[in-house]
């Protein structure tokens, strides 16, 4: 289950998709919309993507993680469109035989999603102003 969606992310379905009888560990990460980033208040976020490339890169990120850890199944779902405070923007789930691998693989996948996948968020403040976030310059 690796895809983009404009609907709320179904974390139950994602968990079910990665469970495996050979695995003792599942880690699910949810990136949720925070009200405050430092002192800046968010009213809502808008996510956009270069969709075909983003889905390809999500699959590549899962494959990269699979080269490093014995992942049985991995799922990555990223939401697009308008998200309110508390909404889940991204969900990553992996199953592995043992727990240390699951934590490491899920953290790695999130790092790579934030580096390699063409998705952007626009901060929308309570005063009506908005700004696309382009904080991290790739080296």
């Amino acid at each position: 289950m690796i895809h983009l969606t404009r609907d709320p992310i179904d974390t139950g379905a994602l968990l079910a998709a990665v469970q495996d009888p050979h695995c003792g560990a599942v880690v699910l990460f949810l990136g949720t919309v925070r009200e405050l980033t430092g002192a800046v208040r968010t009213e809502y976020l808008e996510y956009d993507a270069y969709a075909p490339m983003a889905e390809q890169k999500l699959r590549e990120v899962a494959a990269l993680a699979g080269e490093r850890w014995p992942i049985r199944r991995a799922g990555i779902v990223h939401r697009l469109g308008k998200l309110a405070i508390g909404d889940t923007a991204v969900a990553v789930a992996v199953s592995t035989p043992h727990r240390a691998e699951a934590f490491a693989a899920a953290a790695f996948i999130m790092d790579k999603v934030k580096e390699l996948v063409p998705i952007w968020k626009q901060e929308n403040a309570p005063d009506g102003s908005s700004e696309w976030v382009h904080g991290i310059t790739p080296s």
């Binding site: 993507a49 983003a54 890169k57 991204v90 063409p118 998705i119 696309w132 382009h134 991290i136 790739p138």
Partner: protein, 79 residues
């Protein structure tokens, strides 16, 4: 050659794509130069952006194939 724009780049240009004239055999670096001439308002963001050719990040030295799908990828902020 059509270049797809996203996020801040789309906002700066006021459109989803820009066109740039590129000779056959031109590189990604040439594409950057052509973009700058047509849309100088992209200068600052372009310097921080990657270029995707057929859904892969491309080095400045790479030749842009004919008919490729080109996109300007500003620093990403998903997750």
């Amino acid at each position: 050659m059509i270049v797809h724009l996203f996020a801040g780049a789309r906002e700066l240009v006021g459109g989803h794509t820009v066109s740039a004239e590129l000779p056959k055999g031109a590189t990604v670096a040439d594409l950057r130069q052509a973009l700058l001439q047509v849309n100088p308002e992209l200068a600052v963001l372009l310097a921080r952006s990657r270029i995707a050719v057929n859904h892969e990040f491309a080095e400045d030295s790479a030749v842009v194939p004919e008919g490729a799908e080109i996109a300007l990828i500003p620093p990403v902020s998903g997750g």
